[in-house]
């Protein structure tokens, strides 16, 4: 009743190809964006700094990995390292050119990540599937090692970590210890909204189709004239760009610093789990997965307290690991298309509601 398409006819191909053809969907999107803009008005620093900002950053990284693994079918375990490349690149760029706008450097650091990602993607011409995943492990461990050993990357700082310097934008302090949670949130929100829009454009057009063709049946794709190597390399490049920007945002606009362990194999697994649970091959899935995996431990810490049964921090971590493990297995067996598919099924039911079918 609420979610009916009746009466919404499309009279030209352009509107038929629109990404949100149903007007209720467009309304829903507007509501979400309005809500996102309004979050800082709540004044709750915890909500902004420990929930909303990291959620957006992880969603961005998840989108990046999803483009490579979900849409193009190339499993990568190097996400953490590619995020790191972005972070360290941004740090070096702003150290060497402190007067350039930091937001520009955040975007440019994505290009460095894209370059590194493309290089490590070259084996994908010869290597497929699970074997390629091992190759990405090589990238992960090698780059992680570089983050520790190449002291130039962290300006020879004795602690081995990078500390984010203060930077301003139009007179407002954007990074560094004095930047407010609200400012940082809006910057991250801006990046995420724009980059999600771009990712959506890509996957709904020619390039998205080429990626999915390579994923589904690369032989047929090749025989249709799709160049496999350039399609795969493009996927690596774009995906690493997104992960690099996410890494730079994470370091400069959330943590305020970073060290090599932040970008380790566990980070790679975390993002991978986000897209498995959220839904491979779905941009919405990236957000849903990030929400579930990132916010669940927070909820697990809070709810028992509210109910009067406090849980130790260590126990929360253990329960989180166990739950994530179970969810991964559950989704891979029962619904490989993840939460996004469940969402779609829900919308299907809503379209015919209150009728059963």
């Amino acid at each position: 009743m609420l979610y009916r398409e009746a009466g919404q006819f499309k009279t030209d191909y352009a509107s038929d190809q629109a990404i949100f053809p149903i007007s209720q969907d467009r309304l829903g999107l507007a509501v979400i964006i309005a809500g996102a803009l309004a979050i800082p008005l709540s004044g709750n620093d915890f909500l902004i700094n420990a929930v909303a900002t990291p959620f957006l950053i992880f969603s961005l990284a998840a989108i990046g990995l999803n483009l490579l693994t979900g849409y193009t079918g190339l499993l990568s375990l190097g996400t953490g390292a590619f995020m790191g490349v972005g972070a360290y690149a941004c740090y070096k760029l702003t150290s060497i050119f402190p007067d350039v706008n930091i937001l520009i450097w955040v975007a440019v650091s994505g290009l460095f990540s894209a370059a590194v990602g493309t290089i490590f993607g070259l084996p994908s011409l010869r290597i497929k599937g699970f074997y390629l995943a091992i190759a990405t492990l090589a990238a992960q461990f090698f780059l992680e090692w570089c983050f520790i050993r190449v002291s130039w990357l962290y300006n020879y700082n004795i602690s081995g970590a990078i500390e984010v310097p203060q930077r301003e934008l139009f007179g407002i302090i954007v990074t560094g210890p004095r930047a407010t949670a609200e400012t940082r949130y809006y910057v991250v929100l801006g990046f995420v909204v724009v980059m999600t829009w771009i990712a959506s454009n890509l996957v709904h057009g020619r390039i998205g189709r080429m990626w999915m063709a390579v994923r589904d049946m690369d032989i047929a794709a090749e025989l249709m004239g799709i160049r496999l190597l350039s399609t795969k390399l493009l996927a690596f490049a774009v995906s690493s760009f997104y992960c690099g920007v996410a890494g730079a945002l994470m370091t400069f606009l959330w943590y305020g610093g970073a060290e090599a362990t932040v970008f380790n194999i566990n980070q790679s697994f975390t993002i991978l789990f986000m897209i498995i649970i959220g839904g491979l091959g779905s941009l919405l899935g990236a957000f849903l997965g990030a929400a579930l995996i990132y916010i669940m431990p927070i909820v697990l810490r809070w709810v028992p307290e509210l109910l009067g049964l406090p849980m130790q921090a260590a126990t929360v971590e253990h329960v989180t690991f166990m739950t994530v493990g179970v969810l991964i297995i559950f989704f891979l067996i029962a619904e490989p298309a993840g939460l996004a598919r469940l969402w779609q099924i829900g919308k299907q039911k809503l379209r015919v509601w209150p009728f059963p079918y």
Partner: protein
């Protein structure tokens, strides 16, 4: 020029100058390689018999070690703890196969691969919940495993072998030999090979698949436990061992998924390779190369032989 010398000439000069150090490094690489090979072996066993890619073998090794230590610390006699751990491992393997691997049997490898990460995370959480998260010490004395080391004066210097390492190599070799004989000479071994080839054909000649799988999972669990004991004896027992378990993957790439000798050869190449690399070339770049050396070897390998050393060439048909 100097750089080229440092990379291509000097390490070999060093090897020649101090052959005792070379022998020491080779030995340590051998031991490490044997243990990697054992992890890969557990995987190969299960794959040969059931066609299932059990990438969780690595985490099972860690879990076995933890269980053994946990039970022993709780006061049980070492051998009782050992027996109980075997039972636990068997139960675990059985559950994993039923609950996770069986439902995913027709899915592409990548899905199974990802599922085993799910298993890994679950076991990490569960293990730390039950046993606590701090590193533990493996049970060695109570199991009559030798302590201390033997020192040889040879090759112009000293070579020191840890007794536990010697024990590891001996026991591992016995196990591998036993498995090889078992596979090729006994009735059950033949049945296992039949099952690996074709389930339906095996069924039609009266082989009980259930029985076979039980035996195989038991063998794999045993291998995991032995591996866990020796790994744990050489370094602390904690879930950080999982990183070592991940290294079994390059071993599988070199050795292929279905070959027992392949797992051994692959393990030795990786183990010795990374030790030599770290000892002689590591200092040039600041050390720590063993974090990634194995994977880079595997990567280079894959570029030339995408199907591994012993694997079958993949012919794609349309």
């Amino acid at each position: 020029m100097h750089l080229l010398y440092m990379i291509f000439i000097d390490p070999f000069v060093q090897m020649g100058q101090a052959p005792d150090l070379l022998a020491q490094t080779l030995w340590e690489g051998l031991v490490g390689g044997m243990l990697y090979a054992l992890i890969a072996l557990g995987f190969v066993l299960i794959f040969k018999a059931s066609g299932v890619f059990n990438f969780a073998q690595g985490i099972m090794v860690v879990f076995a070690a933890l269980t053994l230590v946990g039970l022993h610390d709780a006061g049980l006699n070492a051998f009782l703890a050992l027996g109980l751990t075997i039972v636990v491992m068997f139960g675990l393997a059985f559950t994993v196969e039923r609950v996770v691997l069986r439902p995913l049997v027709n899915q592409p490898d990548i899905i199974l691969f990802m599922a085993t990460f799910g298993i890994t995370y679950f076991l990490i959480g569960f293990g730390e919940f039950v046993f606590g998260g701090d590193p533990k010490v493996m049970v060695t004395e109570d199991l009559f495993l030798p302590q201390g080391s033997i020192t040889y004066k040879t090759l112009g210097g000293i070579v020191q072998l840890q007794k536990i390492d010697i024990a590891a190599v001996i026991i591992a070799s016995i196990m591998v030999a036993a498995l090889a004989v078992f596979f090729s000479k006994t009735r059950i071994g033949r049945a296992l090979r039949a099952v690996a080839d074709s389930h339906s054909a095996a069924l039609s000649v009266g082989i009980s698949l259930e029985q076979i799988w039980v035996i195989v999972w038991f063998a794999a669990g045993l291998v995991a436990l032995v591996t866990g004991i020796f790994w744990g004896a050489r370094s602390d027992v904690s879930f950080a061992l999982e990183i070592i378990a991940l290294k079994a993957l390059p071993v599988l790439i070199l050795g292929g998924f279905t070959s027992i000798p392949g797992a051994i050869v692959g393990g030795l190449i990786i183990g010795i390779g990374e030790k030599l690399g770290e000892f002689y070339w590591g200092p040039l770049v600041g050390g720590g190369t063993d974090a990634w050396f194995a994977y880079v070897i595997a990567l280079v390998f894959l570029l030339f032989r995408p199907q591994g050393l012993f694997g079958e060439k993949i012919i794609e048909r349309v």
